[in-house]
């Protein structure tokens, strides 16, 4: 299938560019990278040994090629702070972040699709305007504000859910979910607002098409008309915005994990930035970018699933 192959190949230059930028992050930043890595209190000897370890006397692109090779083989370097491989650190923290993003995505889609479809179905009426005002509100509210509001209401006021923290799934599935609900909600609502607006616009366009009139003339039920006939046609813009919005989700993960004290990759990122742990920063940025590219590859491939005209 040439469409799949074309899409796959198109991700290669993107990933190469991302790698170059991530690599340059350290090596093109002002000053000597060895100084940056060693920190302000380092002795000249320490700086010299780091410089030797990095091979800084070699040309930039040679170092980039070496680095790229080691990244491909799964070696993201050593954390300066922890003194452990970056890949291990990220893997160790991946579960909370993946669980949080998936739950947030699930919440977002579960809210946004029905809301957007319903708003389109009742376009121009009060219920549509209310739904879309809610969407604007959700989109304008920063994640951390929403997060603290949710904590205040559900944890402090109602005392239904824990304030913050994280419990690993192997230590109790219920506890794991109870800790994840609020951060996922804070993260998902912003995302939901974006998806809902696009869903409404896409559905509105589709509902005015001739084939929807045909579907009505055939005497189809509402459910089949809206879900099978309309939603499948509106799917392409909707999954597109889910893919594009995933970038928002990633940056949201960083903020949310900090607010709710979840030990995930987002927290790792913030800590690494505060500690100037450059190899870790490079590693997480690379992993985040690769995830984003992968998600959008899946989105591109899903077009063929929804629209037979793309398959050529």
């Amino acid at each position: 299938m040439s469409y799949v192959l074309r899409r796959l190949l198109a991700t290669l230059p993107v990933m190469a560019t991302v790698a170059l930028i991530v690599f340059s992050l350290l090596h093109l930043s002002p000053g000597d990278p060895a100084h940056v890595l060693a920190g302000e209190t380092a002795t000249p000897d320490e700086v010299a040994s780091i410089r030797a370890a990095l091979g800084l006397e070699r040309p930039f692109f040679e170092r980039f090629a070496d680095w790229s090779y080691s990244v491909i083989t799964g070696n993201l370097g050593q954390s300066i702070f922890f003194g452990r491989p970056v890949a291990d650190l990220i893997l160790q923290r991946a579960v909370p972040s993946i669980a949080l993003s998936l739950l947030a995505l699930l919440i977002a889609v579960a809210i946004a699709l029905p809301l957007g479809m319903f708003a389109a179905w009742r376009a121009g009426r009060v219920i549509d305007k209310m739904a879309m005002s809610f969407a604007v509100l959700g989109f304008s509210l920063p994640t951390f504000v929403l997060g603290y509001l949710l904590i205040l209401f559900f944890s402090v006021h109602l005392r239904w859910l824990p304030v913050q923290g994280y419990v690993a799934p192997e230590d109790g599935a219920v506890s794991f979910l109870r800790h994840l609900i609020l951060p996922a909600l804070a993260l998902g609502l912003v995302y939901a607002a974006l998806i809902a607006r696009v869903t409404r616009a896409a559905m509105l366009e589709v509902l005015g098409q001739d084939y929807m009139r045909t579907a009505r003339a055939k005497g189809l039920g509402l459910w089949r008309m809206v879900v099978r006939h309309a939603l499948k046609n509106a799917a392409v813009p909707i999954v597109t915005v889910i893919g594009i919005g995933f970038g928002m989700l990633i940056s949201g993960v960083v903020v949310t994990e900090t607010v709710f004290n979840v030990p995930g990759v987002g927290r790792l990122t913030v800590d690494a930035i505060l500690r100037r742990d450059y190899p870790v920063i490079q590693g997480v940025v690379l992993v985040f970018s690769a995830t984003y590219v992968l998600i959008n590859l899946l989105v591109d491939l899903s077009y063929a699933l929804f629209d037979p005209r793309v398959r050529r």
Binding site: D210, Y211, G219
Partner: protein, 338 residues
């Protein structure tokens, strides 16, 4: 024998938009007997498509809505049914095919699914029964290689094929009435003839009545037994095809027929007759008509035409025209411009 299937009485449809309300259909009455084909003819904007959509209650509500009159089908007033009751009628007792075969089929669903779901609205069937009936239907509308077509998508079919699929979909539940809104307008002339032949054959075979909306008198002559001519939302003339086409009485009908190019024998051999156009355009009505709405474009309009709505008047058996001057309108036939 002449049992009435559909009786539209004094139908009025209005659209509301930014520029206020517009009356698209104004006091229209028509009847269709079982297995009869009635054609409704007129220019774009005369309300013929709106009439067709109103019967199946497919107007874009609340912008467009029926504001008066009844639509009796098997004696039951469709205008008073709610949406779920209408759903029982659509696709089962009354089906509709549309002008645009390119856009009237859903581009992301297979032909098989689109025909199949129409079969399923009428009852629960196994997948195999649905498939067999869909195949039989494609054979009936003379689509070759039907098994392969079921798996295809609309963009893989030609315009003529798509319109055949639309017809298959419309007829699959053996409706009593088919509403065809400009079914061949978007097709090539040769394909048009094939599709019209097919429709005529099937309606005879299935004993189905047809409400045919068209602007093409060629299609009317070929398909219909009776014709209604509409202008600005009103019926201006109605009669048996032969009588109406050979001796039209309303100046508008005469003008419309004059707009069809014809070859005519003359002393000097064959020559083309002048194509006559009707000056002006169909006016938009704000409310019920207060005068003959054709008067501003009519060459024989008098003061009375601008002051009073002409009532339908019998001009021949089964043939009525709504014109104050119908006895003298025949003079127009030699040349529409006075």
């Amino acid at each position: 024998m002449d049992e009435t299937l559909l009786a539209v009485d004094d139908l009025a449809v209005e659209f509301s938009g930014r520029s206020g309300r517009t009356r698209a259909v104004d006091g229209l009455s028509l009847t269709i007997a079982r297995a009869e084909t009635l054609a409704v003819v007129g220019e774009s904007g005369c309300g013929k498509s709106v009439t067709a959509l109103s019967v199946l209650r497919l107007l874009q509500e609340p912008a467009g809505r029926i504001v008066g009159g009844t639509v009796r089908f098997h004696g039951r007033d469709l205008a008073s049914l709610d949406e779920s009751e209408m759903r029982q009628i659509r696709g089962r007792s009354i089906s509709m095919i549309f002008q645009e075969p390119m856009t009237s089929l859903n581009p992301v669903l297979t032909i098989g699914e689109q025909i199949g779901e129409t079969i399923r609205i009428e009852g629960d069937h196994t997948a195999e029964v649905v498939r067999q009936r869909a195949l039989a239907m494609l054979d009936m509308v003379q689509i070759p290689d039907s098994a392969r077509r079921l798996k295809q998508y609309p963009h893989e079919l030609s315009g003529g094929m798509r319109q055949r699929v639309m017809i298959a979909m419309a007829l699959v539940n053996r409706p009593d009435l088919l509403i065809a809104d400009e079914p061949t307008t978007a097709l090539d002339v040769t394909i048009q003839a094939q599709v019209l032949d097919l429709m005529r054959g099937l309606s005879g075979q299935l004993g189905m009545a047809t409400l045919l909306i068209t602007h093409d008198f060629g299609v009317v002559a070929e398909m219909a037994s009776r014709v209604i001519v509409m202008y600005a939302g009103r019926k201006v003339e109605e009669g048996p095809v032969r009588s109406l086409l050979s001796s039209p009485r309303h100046p508008y009908t005469i003008g419309l027929l004059g707009s069809v190019p014809k070859w005519q024998q003359s002393a000097g051999g064959e020559r083309r007759r002048r194509l006559v156009e009707i000056p002006g355009a169909v006016p938009a009505l704000r409310g019920p008509a207060q005068a003959c709405s054709f008067a501003p474009r009519c060459p024989i309009a008098s003061d009375r035409c601008h002051a009073e709505v002409p009532p339908p008047t019998a001009v021949a058996p089964g043939h009525v025209a709504a014109c104050w001057h119908w006895p003298s309108s025949t003079n127009l036939r030699s040349g529409w411009h006075p």
